[in-house]
């Protein structure tokens, strides 16, 4: 008698579980067919860093102080600056990041004294060579402008 009860109860539990699945068939489809359709990235999304373009100057405000370089846990950033003439402020002439080492922690963005760094919305960042991960931010800014 106990065995029959077990079989009935166990069988019913399987039917109840199957019913959950069957009901699901009539729910709307939520899958997005990437790459044919893309979702919008969230405003906080962290891609690799890039320069902010300030409307006053039409360019970045990097003074090549090297704070980002020193705070980076994995030495992703290389920055060099030069003065155009003797009394001018220093400006970045070289700014390279090696994205393949970047952990997107955001310490560079937080610590930048001139707030000229921001996260980009790039997410398709797979590449074939390790050199494809090296990004020239100054060139990137010029191309986007």
């Amino acid at each position: 008698m106990g065995m029959i009860k077990d079989i009935v109860e166990g069988g019913w539990s399987l039917i109840a579980g199957m019913w959950v699945t069957i009901r699901r068939i009539y729910r709307p489809v939520v899958t997005v067919q990437y790459p044919r359709e893309c979702l919008d990235m969230s405003p906080a999304y962290r891609g690799h860093i890039e320069f902010e373009q300030f409307p006053e100057t039409g360019s970045h405000n990097c003074v090549a102080c090297g704070t980002c370089m020193r705070f980076c846990p994995t030495n992703v950033i290389k920055v060099q600056g030069e003065k155009t003439h003797t009394h001018s402020e220093k400006r970045a002439s070289l700014y390279f990041i090696d994205f393949s080492h970047c952990s997107l922690c955001g310490l560079c963005v937080v610590n930048c004294p001139t707030q000229t760094l921001k996260f980009s919305g790039e997410y398709e960042l797979a590449h074939y060579s390790r050199w494809d991960g090296v990004i020239d931010l100054i060139q990137r800014l010029e191309e986007s402008a």
């Binding site: 166990g10 399987l14 922690c105």
Partner: protein, 372 residues
């Protein structure tokens, strides 16, 4: 139960390597099993395949620079590890955190706890042979990841907590999305119970399997759902309340026997309690600053400090020795999975190989957290 069939037909035993590449070990864990037929005589978990030297890495990094490492120890509950590390430094340096930041941290940490439990739920049932619940739980987990992505900008390894606060403020959309998620998950419990909890096959695979009783759990230093399933109501959030948990009302679900089914039920009830915490925290979320004024480089005073938080798998402790500079002299992370994993040496002998999957799954280890 399994022992009564174990007759010494032959003295011949053999060794079997389960892992390091095995789909149900969820990482690179090697279980060295001595078998007598289908029964396990000895079990030895071999760890260290994923050792990255996080603790050593901390010694050569600024306190700030170690922040991204903390969420990479346990990638499923990264925000809770983040919270633990940041709170440890705040205790060392005496930084006051604004109340809004504390509430945001609690909301996000509880969301992260639910996402970790949902992932465990899906993969555990998949290990036992049920594929459908996996898709359901990942559907719900996806919602949490979207919510956390909105505030932290990342889906798995959030470096969201900062010394003295959080990196980004939450907006109204976050609050409504979280409320919607709480309602949505509450409406899904019936489906989960019909699919899994009441399922006869699941009950047979989980009931009386891998009993970790009170003594065993205490002897091996198990924490988290394993200890609570054995009937010990220990939760760091209640035992040593940190952040704003002392102001929030929640219960600690406990089991009685400590078998795999108890551990399953404890985790499912914990998710409900986390929803309860999130609702209260959202209601009380104060206005104000999200970050205290903190110097660029934190230099905690000389001394040693310990701070513990409750992650999805148990108590996480950060023991940090400071020599007064901006680099830690020594950082030791006490992780829950390490103690929880070692208990396998006592639990596995005498069980069937098929039950190993069930026991290992029900313990819910994250191997990178064990190896660090």
């Amino acid at each position: 139960m399994a022992n009564e069939f174990l007759e010494p037909i032959t003295e011949q035993t053999f060794y079997l390597n389960m892992g390091p590449q095995h789909p149900s070990t969820h990482g690179v864990l090697r279980l060295f099993l001595k078998l007598d037929g289908e029964y396990i005589v000895e079990a030895d978990p071999v760890i260290g395949y994923g050792h990255r030297g996080h603790e050593k890495m901390a010694e050569s990094h600024l306190y700030e620079q170690f922040l991204p490492n903390s969420s990479r120890m346990d990638y499923l509950a990264g925000l809770i590890f983040n919270h633990g590390y940041v709170a440890a430094i705040e205790k060392m340096a005496g930084i006051e955190v604004p109340p809004r930041a504390e509430y945001i941290r609690v909301i996000c940490a509880e969301l992260n706890r639910i996402s970790s439990h949902l992932l465990w739920f899906g993969t555990y049932v998949m290990d036992l042979g049920g594929f459908t619940p996996f898709l359901y739980s990942f559907d719900d987990r996806e919602n949490i990841l979207d919510i956390l992505d909105r505030v932290s900008g990342s889906r798995l390894t959030y470096s969201y907590c900062r010394f003295g606060g959080v990196a980004r403020d939450v907006d109204d959309e976050f609050i409504t999305a979280t409320h919607q998620f709480v309602e949505r998950l509450r409406s899904r419990w019936d489906d989960y119970h019909n699919l899994v909890t009441k399922n006869v096959i699941f009950i047979h695979r989980a009931k009386d399997v891998g009993v970790i009783n009170r003594e065993l759990a205490l002897r091996f230093g198990c924490t988290g759902p394993i200890l609570r399933a054995a009937g010990v109501p220990y939760d760091v959030r209640k035992a040593e309340p940190y952040s704003v948990y002392s102001e929030l009302d929640f219960e600690i679900p406990t089991g009685t026997k400590g078998d795999a089914l108890d551990r399953y039920l404890v985790r499912v009830q914990e998710m409900e309690q986390s929803l309860h915490i999130i609702e209260q925290a959202l209601e009380r979320l104060p206005d104000g600053a999200i970050k205290a004024a903190v110097p660029h480089k934190v230099r905690p005073p000389r001394g040693d400090y310990y701070f513990a938080v409750e992650s999805a798998r148990g108590a996480v402790g950060f023991y940090i020795v400071s020599d007064g500079t901006s680099y830690p002299y020594r950082l030791k992370a006490r992780v829950p999975s390490y103690g929880n994993l070692q208990v396998l040496t006592e639990v596995l002998p005498g069980t069937l190989v098929a039950d190993t999957i069930s026991i290992l799954g029900s313990i819910d280890i994250v191997v990178p957290e064990v190896d660090r």
